[in-house]
């Protein structure tokens, strides 16, 4: 059984894949990445994204920003429970960002100026909010570029399948 599996892998690696590369059946780079992972909401992470994730990781969960969050009463509490969610959860993974899309689409980055000014570790909340909106767009457009049959599954965010609280 093991021998059969090894032979199959060798056949794929040594014959099938080289032939597919030669005849252009395999995507490369970002297109290939998006084809494989786009439906899951995973998008490439360029240097700018890495810098923003690093800035978000400075959050120490002290909660001070939540206490002067200009939008805490403006968005339904079922969707959004404070600006500290941006660095603590939303910035972590674009896969999970789709769960919080109602909150991310509703936030107004400019209303985080006061909260940003009192953050002890200097998390750039305004820029982070703008970046999250952009990242969500990218994640959703990656899903939209798929063939019709796949697109429907990918666009149905888990949030619509009862996962509204999953982003919190």
């Amino acid at each position: 059984m093991r021998l059969g599996a090894d032979l199959y892998l060798a056949w794929r690696a040594l014959v099938v894949q080289p032939l597919r590369r030669i005849f252009g059946k395999v995507g490369r780079g970002e297109a290939c990445f998006l084809e494989n992972y786009g439906p899951e909401g995973l998008v490439p992470t360029p240097a700018k994204d890495k810098a923003m994730v690093a800035a978000a990781s400075r959050c120490i969960s002290c909660g001070l920003c939540d206490q002067i969050d200009g939008q805490l009463g403006a968005i339904s509490r079922g969707d959004y429970d404070g600006v500290s969610l941006l660095p603590r959860q939303y910035a972590r993974s674009s896969v999970e960002l789709v769960h919080a899309r109602r909150a991310v689409e509703a936030i107004d980055p400019e209303r985080y100026r006061a909260a940003e000014a009192i953050c002890p570790t200097g998390v750039p909340l305004v820029a982070l909010a703008g970046w999250l909106r952009d990242r969500l767009l990218r994640a959703r457009s990656a899903a939209k570029e798929l063939p019709d049959g796949v697109r429907d599954d990918a666009r149905a965010a888990p949030h619509e399948a009862g996962g509204a609280a999953a982003g919190r």
């Binding site: 120490i60 404070g82 200097g122």
Partner: protein
């Protein structure tokens, strides 16, 4: 670059230590700029201000020997030679003066008792007894030493907001019994949050709602209040986002019982009140409060294993809105500088390979030695009740609050440090947080003002020397 900011004294940080230093320097006649990057540990504090706990207190005897506040501080200095109180041993006689100044200069926002008396005893949000020399008045009113009879512990019947009132009352009775305090604690679970949209709200939002309608809380408590006489009602520390006194007075009038707040745990509303109140007082006292990060232009931020103190700082001080915006920084021209930016949260101490003080690159001491990049695991312990060396890291100072270099010499006669940035104090383990900030802030502010004045006259020396020389030190 715009016109420079100029003053006699620059205070870096505007938490408890920075605010008191700025107010002390201001009272001594200096013009003061207080620069804060953001809110820090003061905004996260419980609302109590502890100077030092009783040296004999233990879990089995929570109040220990019930020594005076000053004796507790002196004992801490004796037991912990690295502690700032030990460095300032000769000046501990000024503790009462510093605490009185803090009460006066903050307009009663922070209240302290006489250091010749014993600590107040407060019920912590976790049911332990907390010894505290002072704090916000609404919290100090809950001093259990002044209570005879039954204490009502009010809960809002909402998990997660504070500890359950029944658990808290049971813990209070047990710890008070161990401490020899005869009082009975009764839980009072009111339904304020049960039948409304309030259950989803955060602490500060609950506080805003209660402040807007204290009558609703009074009515809710009245419904739950057992028919027996109470000497004191202890409320969760969410009764007001602003001034809690009007809410307490309304409650007392409606309920006919003295009311007070418990000290807060994490996500502290009283901490916010304290921070905002201190900033208000700074503005009222004529201190120029600016937001931003202080740095030295041309300073080398490249990591190095050994500190390189920047002695030629006077012409290179700058203030920028953030680290990324240093190109648009303003020049800051001052005669003296007080470092009061706290430790890790406030940014007074950073760790990049080694622990460092980011403005002047002064040596940071951990367990009696300058940190040269030892593994952080060597400075921490797995059990949280053990002493955490990293939490006591900071600047070592002399008796005039001047930071010391590796060889024991003061870095600069014009630079002082106070508060949590000082080495040897772990606020959580030592029970000397805001009290130490107030004491050291008061001394540092006066020293800086005296130094600025001496510098103006071309003289040199500490506050004491300046006073001796008739240089006008307060």
């Amino acid at each position: 670059m715009s016109a420079p900011l100029s003053a006699d004294v620059l205070v870096v940080g505007a938490g408890a230590a920075g605010a008191i230093a700025a107010l002390a320097a201001r009272e001594a006649g200096a013009s003061v700029i207080a620069a804060r990057r953001a809110w820090g540990a003061t905004a996260l504090s419980s609302g109590a201000a502890d100077v030092a706990p009783d040296p004999l207190s233990s879990p089995g005897s929570p109040l220990g020997g019930r020594a005076s506040v000053e004796a507790c501080a002196r004992s801490l200095a004796l037991r912990r030679p690295e502690h700032p109180y030990a460095m300032l041993r000769e000046r501990l006689g000024a503790l009462g003066e510093a605490l009185r100044f803090a009460s006066r200069a903050t307009g009663g926002l922070l209240a302290f008792g006489d250091p010749g008396e014993e600590n107040r005893v407060l019920l912590s949000p976790f049911g332990a007894l907390k010894q505290s020399a002072g704090g916000l008045r609404s919290i100090l009113d809950g001093d259990l030493l002044r209570v005879r009879g039954t204490v009502g512990v009010v809960g809002f019947d909402r998990p997660g907001l504070e500890l359950d009132a029944r658990d808290l009352a049971a813990a209070a009775e047990e710890t008070c019994s161990l401490a020899g305090l005869r009082l009975r604690a009764v839980p009072i679970e009111c339904d304020l949050l049960r039948w409304s949209d309030l259950p989803l709200l955060r602490r500060h939002e609950v506080a805003e709602r209660i402040e807007a309608d204290p009558e609703a809380l009074a009515t809710s408590i009245l419904r739950a209040l057992p028919a027996e006489p109470f000497a004191l009602l202890l409320l969760p520390p969410v009764i007001a986002r602003g001034d809690p006194e009007p809410v307490l007075r309304i409650l007392e009038e409606r309920l006919g019982v003295r009311c007070a707040e418990l000290p807060a745990g994490a996500r502290s509303v009283p901490g916010l009140r304290l921070q905002e109140g201190l900033e208000r007082r700074l503005s009222e006292a004529g201190v120029r409060l600016v937001e931003g990060e202080v740095f030295l232009e041309g300073g080398d931020d490249a990591p190095s294993l050994v500190e390189r103190p920047r002695r030629d700082w006077a012409d290179r001080l700058r203030l920028s809105s953030s680290r990324e915006a240093r190109g648009d920084a303003e020049a800051v021209v001052v005669r003296a500088c007080v470092l009061a930016a706290g430790k890790f949260i406030g940014g007074g101490v950073e760790r990049h390979g080694r622990m460092r003080e980011p403005i002047f690159d002064l040596p940071v001491w951990v367990e009696g030695a300058v940190d040269e990049g030892r593994w952080v695991g060597d400075s921490t312990r797995p059990a949280w009740l053990e002493r955490q060396a990293a939490m006591a890291a900071g600047l070592r100072v002399d008796g005039s609050l001047r930071p010391l270099l590796r060889d024991g010499a003061p870095f600069d006669d014009r630079v002082f440090a106070c508060g949590a940035i000082l080495a040897g104090n772990d606020p959580a383990a030592d029970g000397a947080g805001i009290g130490l900030a107030v004491f050291s802030g008061y001394l540092a502010g006066r020293e800086a003002a005296a130094r600025a004045r001496a510098s103006e006259r071309g003289a040199f020396g500490t506050a004491a020397e300046a006073a001796d020389a008739g240089a006008g030190a307060p």
